[in-house]
């Protein structure tokens, strides 16, 4: 892999990029945990006293809501990561060559 900068600053960039990635990962995984294990399981008995239309709220999170949130989480991750990668010039926008043979 050819890098324009010196090896030192290149690895510095990579470290900063990796930290930014881990921060984003941590936030999103926390939300992932909160909607499924939190709202759908641990706090379900408490949330069930509230109604969302004809659904007890905790039950709705367990059978509907968590799934919608999962989709949103992946969409946010794909979008935000792409932005972070461009910021650090580590994106793969020009790499669309398919794999050539084994």
């Amino acid at each position: 892999m050819v890098e324009d900068e010196s090896a030192n600053s290149a690895s510095e960039t990579r470290r900063a990029y990796w930290r930014a990635n881990l921060r984003l990962l941590g936030t999103l995984m926390a939300i992932w945990f909160a909607v499924s294990f939190g709202a759908g399981i641990l706090f379900r008995p408490f949330l069930d006293q509230f109604m969302l239309g004809g659904f007890p709220l905790g039950f709705w999170f367990a059978q509907q809501g968590s799934i919608y949130v999962f989709i949103v989480l992946i969409a946010i991750y794909a979008r935000r990561m792409h932005r972070i990668e461009r910021e650090f010039a580590l994106d793969d926008d020009d790499a669309d060559t398919p794999i050539e043979g084994g």
């Binding site: 399981i41 659904f55 039950f59 367990a62 059978q63 794909a78 790499a95 060559t97 794999i99």
Partner: protein
């Protein structure tokens, strides 16, 4: 047209479509055979992943399970979708950047060890065969009930179709066939769901219908009605469930992590052009999966409601046709304990074990007589949960073409997953065992031939498992997820997120996780099934959820062993550095 003719027509047309696609997309190289050349559009790949993932279990069994489990069924809904968040965030982009063909490839290279690679292959083959046996059972059920052919012939036809496009087309053929299969299966799932939701609540969107009031003018909501009628019959309330919170959490977690560690799912993300596409693709896959998974709980609730209403306190002589059809197939049974000719449906088993009918025995009301020992509760009805999705259109009196559609959809779901699994098995044999371990000098042509031979052999074994289903198959489906969670997931995860994890740690971790989970499940499911109750379980965790403990053990052992042994060589550091950044994914593999 008669329903039977429509079923033949729909199933025949869908099979012709799959074969047509297979001929059009034949694989010419190992790269096309293993990963469809690595050039699949992320949306297309997402759709193929959804079909690959949604098996006979998702299509045929899941809604039925939830119908009888109520809230407890949420473990499947959250478990089998939440895993995609882990895949998209923690595994898929990095594995794509790594740029090889298989999961054992990654483990073997990252841990610089053919032992690690072989352990991964063993996990993979075990997981995949367990899974495929379930698909074949689904094919058998659909064929025997709807096409009125013998189960053996049904499985042979199904295997023939899969053979044709998996062996010819490899991953390329499978990917494009799966796109067609997704369209068939989702249409087949949504149409009856919309009909039933409309009939029950007047709301055509099943996801909203589940939270609506019933259309009978009573002013009670679907869930209220279910809760009150089930409680009256002695079941736990639908929105409440009966599993402990610890167990629900552990099963959900095991299914999530297991999903993220299933080789036939992971390998799909090797087929997109670059790392950022792997993220997008996982997102699209979940969108396509969620379409079915958010509909399923609505199907479950309506099915349970309709089932209760049409069975409970109905005279056997007045039962609808579907009841007798399924009784003829041995999946429904009624034992008239009090001899009143009316079916009492309440909590508890009607009799011990699965129905064993008295040959030729017909009761006074016309029901099939049973040899099973009766239990002393008031329940008289036995129903196999797997039939709910298939029986649903009939229970709700939907037109014949909807029933035909569901039959074609069930086959699409079973065949697409079977094909994906067969490919993973054949790749493990030809690529990981032959090319990478035992015969590195094999030519590209030889490897492709080996992959096709392995796929053929795997199809034959899967077919035999389908025709002669061993009794343990249904018992050990928990194996697939538990083992994937306890063995492959931690090894891959630490391979990406830790530079310190080394060969010794990874192997020790995988072996520990695998052995612990295997023994725990085998103990309660095979060797001592009579002890399989909450008070004997470790921390109250059932065999379905024990994979999480296996995973934690794997992490603990791996980290401890890695601390005490030499760090990985510098080239592994470089590899980890390289897979962490997306730039250069397409060319990483060309060597």
């Amino acid at each position: 047209m008669a329903t039977q003719t429509l079923i033949y027509l729909f199933v025949g047309l869908s099979f012709a479509l799959y074969i047509g696609i297979a001929i059009w997309s034949r694989a010419a190289s190992t790269s096309e055979f293993y990963v469809a050349g690595g050039g699949v559009n992320p949306v297309v790949n997402g759709m193929a992943t959804a079909a690959d993932w949604m098996s006979a279990a998702s299509f045929l069994s899941m809604a039925g399970l939830i119908a009888f489990m109520g809230y407890d069924g949420s473990v499947y809904l959250m478990g089998w979708t939440g895993g995609y968040v882990m895949l998209a965030l923690l595994l898929a982009p990095y594995l794509r950047k790594f740029g090889q063909f298989t999961v054992p490839d990654f483990i073997g290279t990252r841990y610089y060890s053919n032992v690690a690679r072989t352990v991964a292959v063993v996990c993979l083959i075990f997981i995949s065969f367990t899974y495929i046996a379930g698909q074949m059972r689904g094919v058998g059920i659909v064929f025997s009930r709807f096409l009125e052919v013998d189960v053996t012939l049904g499985v042979i036809i199904g295997m023939g179709i899969v053979f044709f496009y998996a062996v010819l087309g490899g991953m390329k053929g499978i990917t494009y066939t799966q796109v067609a299969q997704y369209c068939v299966l989702i249409f087949a799932y949504l149409v009856p769901a919309i009909f039933i939701s409309l009939l029950a609540t007047g709301n055509p969107v099943p996801q909203l219908g589940l939270g609506s009031d019933l259309a009978d003018g009573s002013g009670t909501s679907v869930l209220q009605k279910l809760d009150s009628s089930l409680v009256e019959m002695g079941f736990p309330a639908y929105t409440d469930g009966s599993k402990s919170m610890v167990d629900v959490s552990c099963i959900t977690a095991a299914l999530m992590i297991g999903t993220a560690g299933l080789p036939h799912v992971i390998v799909r993300f090797f087929t997109v052009p670059k790392a950022s596409d792997a993220r997008k693709s996982a997102g699209w896959a979940l969108v396509f999966i969620a379409l079915l998974y958010t509909t399923a709980p609505a199907v479950s609730a309506f099915a349970r409601l309709n089932f209760n209403e049409s069975v409970s306190d109905t005279r056997y002589a007045e039962t609808p046709d579907w009841f007798r059809n399924w009784e003829a197939n041995g999946l429904i049974a009624w034992r008239d304990k009090n001899g009143d000719g009316v079916m009492q449906y309440e909590a508890g088993d009607a009799f011990e074990g699965a129905p064993e009918y008295t040959p030729g025995g017909i009761g006074v009301s016309g029901e099939r007589l049973l040899d099973n020992a009766a239990t002393d509760n008031a329940n008289e009805v036995y129903v196999d949960r797997d039939i709910m999705v298939l029986a649903n259109p009939e229970i709700a009196n939907l037109p014949g073409w909807v029933i035909a559609l569901v039959a074609a959809g069930g086959l699409a779901a079973a065949l697409s997953t079977a094909a994906g699994l067969l490919l993973v098995i054949s790749t493990a044999v030809s690529h990981d065992l032959l090319k990478s371990t035992f015969r590195p000098q094999i030519s590209e042509k030889g490897e492709l031939l080996a992959a096709r031979v392995a796929a053929t052999a795997a199809i034959v074994v899967a077919g035999i498992l389908g025709i002669y289903p061993p009794g343990w198959v249904a018992q050990v489906v928990a194996f697939a997820f538990g083992l994937a969670a306890a063995s492959l997931f931690p090894a891959i995860f630490m391979g990406i997120f830790s530079t310190r994890m080394n060969r010794e740690g990874a192997i020790a971790g995988m072996v520990t996780g695998l052995a612990f989970t295997f023994l725990y499940i085998a103990w309660f499911k095979l060797w001592a099934p009579e002890l399989n109750t909450a008070e004997h379980w470790l921390f109250g965790i059932s065999p379905e959820g024990i994979g999480v403990v296996g995973m934690l053990l794997n992490f603990a052992v791996a980290i401890t062993v890695a601390r005490l042994t030499a760090p990985p060589p510098p080239e592994v550091d470089a590899l980890v550095e390289n897979i962490r950044v997306p730039r250069g994914a397409g060319t990483a593999h060309a060597h």
